[in-house]
């Protein structure tokens, strides 16, 4: 018998019916085929492990989300468009370094006063705003965004110092692919978290209750095609629209049109609604202010309970500009050294935070540092 093809070997592994005696005899005396068979068996086993492992990552909240969507689908444009309970989303993202930064893409605290009855629904306004937020801001020059955050509440992963004023600055050099910076500064003026990349070298600095980490990554292969600023913008869009607003039942949403702004208000939760479920975060009130003509977010305010304690978050944009190339000095593209930080090095991918978590976990396993929660 000549050496069988891979599909025949695979069929053998899968318990093919029929007379397999000739094949078995061949395999017994053919080392290359034994090796191929072992490779296929390994692939099958790995595929099963992979499927099991990925299934284990399923969030427990998914069933509730499906039920929620099922009940609201088609009720309004808003409800049919991916509602996601606030508690669920924030529980999943609470440790995200840039959770606050994402919220911050909204901006400038405004106020809610009466106005004329709007001609468009909240859902339509939000659709237009989401499209505006996702649109590229620039293709050349240096994009600079800055946000001021005022937070009152318990400390958590995103804002580890708790109550106080934070600043976020984001820079992206559209003329030099792979060059960007994100930095979150805490109430004491010190760097809380920062991410810079220059070509293939990326540095992530993060302070946690377990200590500070200074993580350095080298990116192999092609540079990630994603524009980090676009990614931030998209994350902001998801945060604002999927989480703070679309999470709500339509009856909780209000839309007021003013000459200079659209104001979307998220009212108190309805008893028994998914985002009223006991969770890490319960949003009781949120307000989103959008530029009237461009629908770009200007401000956001959120109030509610975080881990059982009341919290309040206000985000305002302080800068949103495109600077000419070279307008930002080289030292502005770096992060300061953090005293006492554990320095780790590794290979980077397009997922900076995943890389960081893995690098720290590897180091923890090697008993070099405590695991980062």
């Amino acid at each position: 018998m000549t050496c069988p093809t891979d599909d025949v070997l695979l069929a053998q592994l899968e318990g093919a019916h029929g007379d397999v005696t000739p094949l078995s005899q061949h395999l017994a005396g053919c080392a290359p085929c034994q090796k191929r068979l072992a490779g296929l068996l390994s692939g099958l086993n790995s595929a099963r492990i992979a499927a099991d492992t990925l299934a284990d990552a399923t969030p427990n909240s998914l069933e509730a989300l499906i039920r929620f969507r099922f009940r609201t689908s088609g009720a309004t444009t808003l409800a049919a468009h991916r509602p996601r309970p606030v508690a669920v989303w924030l529980a999943r993202h609470r440790a995200a370094v840039y959770g606050a930064a994402a919220v911050a893409a909204a901006v400038v605290v405004a106020f809610l006063v009466g106005g004329p009855t709007p001609q468009v629904s909240a859902a339509q306004v939000l659709d237009r705003s989401e499209a505006a937020l996702l649109a590229p801001a620039a293709t050349s020059g240096i994009e600079r965004l800055a946000y001021a955050i005022h937070y009152e509440g318990p400390s958590f992963g995103g804002l580890p110092a708790g109550t106080g004023d934070y600043l976020i600055e984001a820079l992206c050099d559209h003329d030099r692919p792979g060059r960007f910076k994100l930095a979150l500064t805490g109430p004491d003026g010190a760097l809380v978290r920062g991410l810079v990349q220059e070509g293939r070298e990326r540095r992530l600095v993060m302070t946690t209750p377990k200590g500070a980490f200074d993580l350095r990554f080298h990116l192999d292969g092609e540079l990630p095609s994603e524009d980090l600023m676009a990614s931030r913008r998209q994350q902001a869009a998801k945060t604002i629209f999927d989480t703070l607003v679309r999470a709500a039942e339509p009856e909780r949403l209000g839309h007021i049109e003013r000459p200079d702004a659209h104001i979307i208000e998220l009212g108190p939760p309805v008893a028994g609604s998914p985002d009223a479920i006991q969770g890490l975060v319960e949003v009781e009130h949120a307000r989103l202010v959008l530029e009237h003509d461009t629908y770009r977010p200007r401000a956001i305010e959120v109030e509610g309970r975080l881990m059982g304690e009341t919290f309040k978050l206000e985000v305002r944009a302080t800068a949103n500009e495109i600077l000419p190339g070279g307008a930002v000095e080289d030292e502005k593209w770096t992060l300061p050294e953090v005293s006492g930080a554990v320095v780790l090095e590794g290979k980077g991918t397009r997922h900076p935070l995943a890389d960081a978590a893995e690098l720290i976990a590897d180091a923890a396993r090697a008993s070099r540092v405590a695991p980062c929660k």
Partner: protein, 172 residues
């Protein structure tokens, strides 16, 4: 494309469809999520795909659609939804890194996601569907592939996956 509104159904029909959908979710939902996560490498997108798939299942059931192989039907819909999202990412280069970051306990899943990204999209589908225990016939339907080609294509995909998996996890 959004699923059609379910509110057009009468309440008893809607409630019945909901109960059936949730029952099927409990049976297949976690596996389907794992499949979508493996294809997309992004948790939020995977959640959206699973939600959309089950909403469409509700429509399918409400319209008295074919119920002969609902698992295969779900995987086919999920495969198409994932492909749509992958195409969307290619059109919009800034989309969808999983920037929320993982918990340390999710690292093994992340490592597997990383292995899967090294495969061609179709190989990824084949490996995951076989890992889910779908038959060749179901895989053929889910991926719109000629059934007679599945064995050959799957063998090649599994071999590639085994090599990448070993490289990632340091196994022979």
């Amino acid at each position: 494309m959004e699923p059609e509104p379910l509110m057009t159904l009468e309440e008893p029909e809607r409630a019945s469809a909901e109960e059936r959908v949730l029952t099927l979710y409990r049976e297949h939902g976690r596996r389907l999520y794992g499949y979508a996560l493996g294809l997309l490498g992004n948790r939020a997108d995977a959640e959206d795909v699973v939600q959309d798939a089950f909403l469409r299942l509700g429509q399918h059931l409400a319209k008295k659609g074919d119920e002969a192989n609902l698992r295969g039907w779900l995987y086919r819909v999920a495969t198409n939804l994932c492909r749509d999202r992958q195409r969307g990412r290619m059109r919009h280069a800034g989309a969808a890194p999983d920037s929320a970051g993982p918990t340390p306990t999710a690292l093994s899943a992340i490592a597997i996601e990383r292995v899967l990204t090294r495969l061609k999209p179709r190989d990824r589908e084949l490996v995951l569907l076989r890992g889910e225990g779908l038959s060749y016939a179901e895989i053929a339907v889910s991926t719109a592939t000629n059934p007679s080609s599945i064995g050959t294509l799957l063998a090649r995909a599994l071999r590639q996956f085994a090599e990448e998996y070993a490289r990632e996890f340091g196994k022979e």
